[in-house]
């Protein structure tokens, strides 16, 4: 049975290396945002904690701040530790990337960046993953109620009802994104007011 790794023990391991980098609140280990990568690396490399497997990486919008949640797992010792870090700047949230510690953080950090807008500094390839570059807003934030700028998802109506509904708009490039003949767009596809075109 996987046990929960004691947060206090983990705090001691982290603080022995970088004092003040970790604290425990309500039995949960919180890391100083600037120290996340180093602290997690300490936890990974320490013989005792042995948290070699990044099970899960996600974020929660707590309205006043973002909480990035890491679930770290030790396979040989079979214990799980939940680690959190608070990102307080809602305008330009940023956190050090874990990609140097766990290769598996690549895609999960991109997902969090895509849906929450939290930048992971040091991530080698931080681009939106599910949504296209230029998508307005970050959907999983709690203040994302509808798309800003009155951009609505989908078409305003059926194309045969009105010219305005035609998609793609005449004159724009009617590229199918999947055809091997098409010129390869450098970036991802973006939807502008003229319809779909490549950036």
């Amino acid at each position: 049975m996987t046990s929960q790794y004691d947060a206090t023990a983990a705090m001691e391991i982290v603080n022995a290396d970088a004092p003040g980098a970790a604290c425990v609140e309500d039995g949960v280990l919180y890391l100083e945002p600037s120290e996340v990568a180093g602290a997690v690396q300490t936890l990974r490399d320490s013989e005792e904690s042995d948290l070699v497997f990044l099970s899960n990486l996600t974020a929660v919008d707590r309205e006043l701040h973002f909480e990035v949640v890491y679930h770290l797992q030790s396979l040989d010792r079979n214990h799980l530790l939940q680690v959190k870090a608070r990102v307080t700047d809602r305008e330009d949230p940023a956190l050090p990337s874990l990609t140097g510690v766990y290769h598996g953080a690549h895609l999960q950090e991109r997902e969090v960046y895509d849906l929450f807008g939290i930048r992971f500094e040091g991530h080698p390839d931080l681009r939106r993953m599910f949504l296209w570059d230029g998508f307005p807003g970050y959907p999983l934030r709690k203040d994302f109620l509808q798309m800003p700028g009155q951009v609505r998802a989908g078409l305003p109506g059926f194309p045969h009802e009105s010219e305005e509904n035609a998609w793609p708009v005449p004159g724009s490039v009617p590229q199918r994104p999947q055809h091997p003949n098409d010129p390869q767009p450098e970036g991802d596809l973006v939807v502008s007011e003229e319809g779909e075109e490549s950036s």
């Binding site: 099970s55 396979l75 895609l107 599910f130 999947q178």
Partner: protein, 386 residues
């Protein structure tokens, strides 16, 4: 500069011109979003030098349905159908993982019969999903659908049992918070018995057809190799991790639904290549059948659903529950603020995270190897994009 140096430089220049090329450039080929081997709308953008893959980059999101946002607007029970649609080839496992997370949040005790039924359907789902995975894997190796159709025959029978029990074949929506939606129908157990009786012969047939097939060996051995260290560091899980030799299976490591009561083993590979992943899946099917045998023999009586209000409001808190889905470690992270709907609903998708090392596995191989590697990872695009 000596003449010898001149000659050497000239030779070097020629070799460079031949290999990297003056005026020649690598070709970028899009595999997908619609492509026979991407199993859905998944786009792999490969940069090729001749047939050799120089770079592989995946573009995903074609199937993004924003499940995690939608789930924040619905009650805990209403979210169960979403989980079917995350991994539509292993709907039961997804149902189960989500219900476990919700039960942890609500503090619900699941009756023993429900647990046994859950194990039964999770293992049936594993048989069906591995049949699909192995069949399409052989197809990606270039077989003309023959193993696929043979394995689909087994999958059909499993889906028939799903239909018998809950009326749906693919998106089952069968598990509930606190148990399962319906009790087993009378005709299920005889069908399952027959299935368990027929499967050993079928598996023996597949093994006779595939295991010593020299072409399959040539195509899958030593292809898409990943070391155990790299696999753990890349958060790979499921058969992809176990093929590298790491014996990590949540059914053993963190038993849920009473898996600790069943006797089964965890097959692990050695080389971490595509063929080992295929073999691990073949072996896992056999272990699943072993578990099913024990479940059928020791099926407890009693209620199959605990008394949980439809609009349950859990205490503020969070839970992270994981199951060993056919594709790997499937987790659900739920945060409650005391309301009737989850404050945050996050799925840890094994398909997506298993792709972390796809680039490393593909570079240096040929285009055909990249396809085989992708097939051996066994992705479900619904789960990648959610």
């Amino acid at each position: 500069m000596t003449t010898a140096d001149d000659t050497r430089l000239a030779m070097q220049g020629t070799i460079e011109a031949l290999t990297t090329g003056d005026g020649s450039e690598p070709v970028v080929v899009n595999l997908g979003p619609q492509h026979p081997s991407t199993h859905g709308v998944f786009r792999l953008k490969v940069t090729l030098d001749g047939e050799i893959v120089q770079d592989a980059e995946m573009r995903i999101g074609y199937l993004h349905r924003s499940m995690e946002k939608l789930a924040e607007e619905r009650t805990y029970t209403q979210n169960i159908p979403f989980t079917d649609r995350i991994d539509y080839l292993a709907a039961m496992s997804n149902n189960l993982a989500y219900c476990l997370a919700a039960e942890e949040l609500l503090g619900v005790e699941v009756p023993p019969r429900a647990n046994a039924i859950r194990v039964m359907f999770a293992e049936l789902q594993r048989v069906a999903s591995h049949a699909m995975a192995n069949g399409t894997f052989i197809n990606d190796c270039g077989a003309w659908h023959t193993p696929l159709f043979h394995m689909f025959r087994d999958r059909e029978r499993v889906l028939d049992m799903f239909e018998m029990t809950c009326g749906a074949r693919l998106t089952t929506n069968y598990m509930r918070i606190g148990g399962v939606a319906f009790d087993l129908p009378d005709e299920l157990l005889p069908t399952l018995e027959q299935f368990l009786a027929d499967m050993p012969e079928n598996i023996a047939n597949y093994e006779a057809l595939l295991l010593e097939n020299e072409i399959l060996h040539a195509r899958a051995r030593g292809i898409g190799v990943i070391s155990p260290e790299m696999a753990i560091n890349s958060s790979l899980s499921g058969p992809v991790l176990r093929a590298t030799g790491v014996p990590w299976d949540l059914r053993k490591a963190n038993p849920y639904c009473g898996y600790e009561d069943y006797e089964f083993d965890v097959p692990v590979g050695e080389q971490g290549d595509c063929f080992d992943r295929f073999l691990v899946r073949m072996a896992e099917v056999k272990e699943s059948l072993r578990i099913l045998r024990q479940v059928v023999d020791n099926l407890p009586d009693g209620p199959w659903l605990a008394d949980v209000p439809l609009h349950a409001r859990p205490e503020p808190g969070e839970s992270y529950a994981r199951v060993e889905s056919p594709r790997g470690e499937l987790g659900f992270y739920l945060v409650s603020d005391g309301g009737p709907a989850p404050y945050r609903f996050h799925c840890r998708p094994p398909s997506l995270i298993n792709l972390s090392a796809l680039k490393e596995m593909s570079i240096g191989g040929t285009l055909a190897d990249a396809i085989v590697t992708l097939g051996s990872i066994d992705i479900v695009v619904g789960e990648i994009d959610r």
